[in-house]
């Protein structure tokens, strides 16, 4: 009796395992090997070939250049400027691809996941879908990708990605280099392995945004760690930077607020009746 009842599940399990093996074989045959841990090769600035801040020579409109200058001026005296990341605020696209901490790719025929050690993942849909009619915006945006076989060897080499529908505020880097508050950003990427070094990955990123007078293209380069160690990096665990209103404060060793700037006013405590 036991023998007869166990045949069905056994056959089902065999079919399931075969199906998984088939998908895995498809992925291995057609898709590039992007496994392992990818670490940035440059600094934390947006264009890795240029210095942070004004050195980026970002093609900003006059209005957004003024916003950027105000951010730099605030940071020069200890403020956070436009960069809210100190309070664990999400960075969003395209800044996610600065990969401050390592990233990992999980490839499958219908979707590619980009996992970050310290940020929410990106999902890049490669199932041939069209843009949704009215999606809820997110910091990482909505990404649709297309695999390309550039050299005709029946294996994909390049993942072309377009990302829209982002939420803000967002900046390119920690200096507060801004994107437009209308959040109409479109980000186009070409991600591929280096042709002469399979442990190097390139991401050519073009940002089209109303804060810019023209599309801004930069290329990020990542190096592969094949035997990676991964740790948790959750910003909410023990962040000592405190955002209250437009001010940022720093927690002391004994848990009190300290000023970050000279002459900074304490927070407004009007709703505390026992002060």
């Amino acid at each position: 009796m036991f023998y007869r009842n166990s045949i069905g599940p056994a056959v089902l399990a065999a079919v399931f395992v075969a199906a998984i093996a088939d998908v895995r074989a498809q992925v291995e045959m057609k898709y590039p090997d992007w496994s392992g841990q990818w670490l940035r090769t440059g600094g934390i600035q947006w264009d890795p070939t240029k210095p942070l801040g004004r050195g980026q020579q970002a093609p900003l409109t006059p209005e957004y250049q003024a916003i950027f200058e105000a951010s730099l001026a605030d940071q020069a005296v200890g403020g956070a400027g436009n960069d809210a990341r100190y309070s664990c605020f999400p960075v969003g696209m395209p800044r996610l691809m600065s990969v401050i901490f390592p990233m990992e790719f999980i490839l499958s025929p219908k979707i590619t996941y980009v996992l970050f050690e310290n940020n929410m993942p990106r999902r890049i849909y490669t199932d041939g879908r069209s843009w949704p009619s009215d999606p809820e915006p997110t910091f990482a945006g909505y990404s649709i990708g297309k695999w390309i076989d550039e050299d005709g060897d029946s294996r994909f080499d390049v993942l072309e990605v377009e990302t829209r529908y982002m939420k803000g505020p967002r900046t390119f880097e920690g200096t507060g280099l801004p994107l437009h508050k209308d959040n109409q950003t479109v980000v186009k990427e070409r991600i591929h392995l280096d042709k002469s070094n399979a442990d190097v990955l390139h991401d050519q990123i073009t940002t089209i945004d109303n804060a810019l007078i023209l599309p801004w293209t930069v290329t990020k380069k990542f190096r592969r760690e094949r035997k990676p160690s991964w740790l948790e990096n959750d910003c909410s665990e023990d962040n000592h930077h405190v955002a209250i209103g437009k001010e940022n404060y720093f927690l002391s060793a004994d848990g009190y607020l300290m000023p970050t700037k000279k002459g900074q006013m304490p927070p407004d405590l009007r709703y505390f009746s026992n002060r």
């Binding site: 200890g78 956070a80 740790l231 930077h241 720093f250 300290m258 700037k261």
Partner: protein, 126 residues
């Protein structure tokens, strides 16, 4: 096997540490005007998003002061050979830190600018 961070590796880390290892701006710390601190570790917080050394220093009038010093992320330190056990309460350190611009007892620390009070480098395990 234990190894000592070579001066070169130390400088390489310094070059990529501090603001470069931060996930946010470190503008609140005065990077142009670092200061020297000596004191006793009260706590080494191997926490995200950034590690902290809580250190007690002695002031000129004999009183003590607690400093809260922010460093690299734990994952970055681990990749450099550090662990949550590298420092322990009671360790006596000398550090070159970048202080809060406000003058309050806080700042940022980095691996390459931290050693034991007697000048010994911090030993790390690869």
């Amino acid at each position: 096997m234990r190894r000592q961070l070579s001066a070169l590796a130390g400088w390489a880390f310094v070059a990529t540490s501090g603001a470069a290892l931060a996930h946010h701006s470190f503008a609140m710390f005065d990077q142009e005007n670092p200061i020297e601190l000596q004191g006793v570790v009260k706590e080494f917080k191997f926490t995200s998003p950034h590690t902290f050394i809580i250190i007690e220093t002695k002031q000129q009038d004999g009183s003590t002061q607690l400093w809260s010093l922010e460093g690299g992320a734990p994952s970055a330190l681990v990749r450099d050979g550090w662990s949550s056990k590298t420092l322990k309460p009671g360790d006596e350190l000398q550090l070159t830190i970048e202080p809060l611009r406000s003058g309050a007892p806080g700042g940022s620390w980095s691996v390459g600018k931290t050693k034991f009070k007697d000048g010994r480098p911090i030993m790390v395990t690869p």
